[in-house]
């Protein structure tokens, strides 16, 4: 029965050294894939709950600022409830999106390992994440600036996020431009 065990034929034909190496390589690729998946998930969750949530709140604050400053007493009364509701529902929706991100990225990276495009896929997803980070930070800067709040970091952080996005997209186009290896 041992003859039907995986790799048993290699024992007989003295090819047992090749299979474990391939398996080891595959396992290490999966491990790298899981590591990148963890990085992507952590980054995605951080961007969602820090930057996107901040941008959403900035938008709501800007939209309700008029009511708060010049509205009727009933409008002013409603403002904190509106802001609170948007924040809570926004958090809920982002939680759902975070779960979707985790599930979809795991599938996407696993396929990437099988097709040998893991790093390309990681760069694409990270570029999108930094793009979202840039847009979220830019929205915060634009609306916070309208309220008079502005520091050097208001400019540096979005520019840094944009720079990473551009760099990753440049790397992606370089990889795409190369001739496929035979």
């Amino acid at each position: 029965m041992l003859l039907f065990a995986p790799g048993a034929h290699c024992v007989l034909r003295r090819c047992n050294r090749k299979m474990p190496m391939e398996q080891t390589r595959k396992i290490s690729e999966y491990l790298v894939g899981w590591g990148l998946w963890a990085v992507t998930d952590a980054l995605g969750v951080f961007i969602m709950f820090w930057a996107v949530r901040g941008a959403l709140n900035a938008l709501v604050e800007a939209a309700t600022m008029g009511a708060l400053l010049t509205g009727t007493p009933s409008e002013r009364f409603q403002v904190p409830f509106i802001r609170n509701a948007v924040d809570r529902f926004g958090t809920l929706i982002m939680g759902i999106l975070a779960v979707l991100l985790i599930v979809l990225v795991e599938y996407y990276y696993r396929n990437g390992v099988e097709t040998g495009t893991l790093w390309r896929r990681f760069m694409l997803v990270t570029a999108i994440e930094f793009g979202v980070l840039f847009v979220a930070l830019a929205i915060q800067v634009i609306f916070m600036a309208a309220l008079g709040l502005f520091t050097i970091w208001s400019l540096v952080l979005p520019c840094a996020a944009l720079a990473v996005t551009v760099l990753l997209s440049w790397l992606l186009t370089r990889r795409d431009g190369r001739a496929p290896s035979s």
Binding site: V141, I142, F143, A145, L149, T151, S154, T165, V166
Partner: protein, 544 residues
């Protein structure tokens, strides 16, 4: 109609729909509240011209005559009211936006040309400040640029003459704009003529004559339009008066009493707030665009010259003209730095930026990293100062363009201040149509603005050449003595004094001149009769 639409190509259908939407958008602020000073002074001066008075001779203004006469002509055709003037202005703004499209289209694609068109339409549709002559003057610069582009492409001198005519029109609408544009177009023409002379094999000795001949055609066109008008006005009002009102006062006193701080080139990031950051962008982003455009123009024209038939060459020559004009407009904007005054140079910058980006090598333009970087930077830098800010402006006291917010005869349904409408009604009820009424401020030693719109709404004769009480002018003793003498000579029975517009600006308008001659005169010879909010109506005492 449907058949007609079907016969028109898809691109034209899109353009027609876009332009119609643009026109409707420009009408969106038609019923925004009346601007008592900037809008009022244009309407009042137009009415004075319609009444037979001569600008500079019979009334003082620091602005060029063109728009006042155009509006006076309109008021001769239709009933003079604020809405009629706004509709006329909206039509001119619409033509300006079409000019932007027409200028960018031959150098890019029809889709790319819609970008600056949309931007300019958005800004003009939200900024309000109706009857502001700087916009028609900018439109005339674009007209000159269109004719100049035709000249550069075809070489026919009639288009050069047309460029000059448009520059002359610009000078009639705004003398300063005309001057700046003339310098820009003169430089661009010199560069183009030098290149043509070089390629035609003209020797170095012949270059000055070759260039000067073309400059002379340009100047002849400009002078053919502007010179007769200014000559006639100079003969009527005196050339010294013309120089003082149009050149000396705007260059000296105006700057002293209207100056608003210009953002420093290198901002202090430790202290800068969001509004200052937006102000900084509104000045330095166009200037950066001009710098990039100038580098590109020099490259395409001289450094690595492209054939004259190439669109890059034509863009380079156009850049020189628009950048020259735009830099002048930037200088103008810094004499009173405000988003309104920064807009004309921003129009030029939007055109230059679009053509410049489109003329980049296709390999760059269509690459993903370039698109991401350009799109991201545009989003970060343009959204705050150029979109959100203008949306906020449009939302202030927003009113539907279809509503009617005033029953005052000359309001044309445009909303007025409640007290302003009441005092105008009172004056009309108490006075004869040919009676003089003086509208001043509660104090004249320190002036920020005065309610010129009230003159227009009250529809009574103006007793003084200084209807516009400009700080640095009406705060001086000779002018106050002149006004008092005019009140006495014309036996003016009614005076309206308005309070509440004290200057808090960081310029000389916030400082009292200490001259109270006019205030003393009014208090001595007039008595208060009634008041409407901040407005007090005074009547001449029976005994003098």
């Amino acid at each position: 109609m449907v058949n007609l639409l079907c016969r028109i190509g898809r691109r034209r259908r899109i353009l027609i729909v876009a332009f119609v939407c643009g026109l409707l958008f420009l009408c969106g602020q038609l019923k925004s509240p009346a601007n008592l000073y900037d809008e009022g002074l244009v309407l009042v001066n137009a009415e004075r011209i319609r009444g037979g008075e001569v600008i500079y001779r019979d009334f003082w203004t620091l602005y060029s005559p063109g728009y006042f006469y155009a509006l006076a002509g309109l008021f001769a055709l239709v009933e003079p009211n604020i809405l009629a003037a706004r509709l006329f202005d909206t039509l001119l703004r619409f033509l300006l936006t079409l000019g932007v499209y027409a200028l960018v289209r031959p150098l890019t694609s029809w889709r790319a040309a819609l970008i600056p068109w949309a931007l300019v339409t958005f800004w003009l549709g939200t900024i309000r400040f109706y009857s502001y002559p700087a916009f028609p003057a900018t439109g005339a610069i674009l007209l000159a640029a269109l004719a100049f582009l035709r000249y550069v492409r075809g070489g026919q001198e009639r288009w050069l003459l047309a460029t000059g005519l448009a520059l002359g029109l610009t000078a009639l609408l705004r003398l300063d704009f005309g001057g700046y544009a003339a310098i820009g177009f003169g430089v661009a023409l010199a560069a183009h003529a030098l290149r043509v002379a070089y390629e035609a094999g003209v020797g170095r000795q012949g270059w000055p004559g070759y260039v000067l001949r073309r400059e002379a055609i340009l100047a002849a066109g400009a002078l053919a339009v502007a010179l007769p008008v200014y000559l006639a006005l100079g003969l009527a009002a005196g050339f010294a008066t013309l120089y003082e009102d149009l050149v000396h006062f705007p260059a000296t006193t105006f700057r002293a009493v209207r100056y608003l701080p210009v953002p420093p080139l290198i901002p202090d990031f430790g202290r800068i707030n969001g509004l200052q950051w937006n102000d900084w962008l509104r000045l330095y982003l166009p200037l950066t665009t001009f710098l990039a455009g100038a580098v590109a123009a020099v490259r395409w024209l001289f450094w690595r010259p492209v054939p004259r038939s190439h669109r890059r060459y034509q863009a380079g020559v156009l850049f020189l003209a628009l950048i020259g004009a735009g830099l002048g407009l930037a200088i103008k904007a810094t004499s009173r730095y405000h988003e309104l005054h920064a807009l004309p140079m921003t129009f030029c910058a939007a055109i230059v930026a679009t053509v410049l980006l489109y003329r980049l090598p296709r390999r760059w333009r269509q690459s993903v990293p370039f698109r991401v970087a350009a799109g991201g930077l545009a989003f970060l830098l343009l959204t705050g100062p150029y979109f959100v800010h203008f949306v906020f402006l449009a939302q202030m006291n927003a009113a539907s363009p279809l509503g009617c917010y005033s029953t005052a005869p000359k309001a044309g349904c445009v909303p007025l201040g409640r007290d302003q409408a009441r005092v105008a009604e009172y004056i009309r009820a108490q006075t004869q149509p040919d009676e003089y009424v003086f509208i001043g401020n509660a104090r004249h030693d320190q002036i920020f603005v005065n309610d010129l719109m009230l003159y227009f709404l009250a529809d009574r004769r103006i007793p003084t050449r200084y209807a516009e009480l400009h700080p640095g002018l009406a705060t001086t003793l000779p002018v106050q003595q002149t006004i008092a003498a005019e009140l006495a000579a014309r036996d003016v029975q009614w005076v309206v004094l308005a309070a509440g517009w004290e200057s808090r600006e960081p310029n000389a308008s916030a400082i009292s001149s200490g001259v109270t001659y006019l205030d003393d005169y009014i208090r001595r010879y007039y008595r208060p009769v009634t008041s409407f909010g901040n407005y007090q109506v005074w009547r001449r005492n029976a005994e003098r």
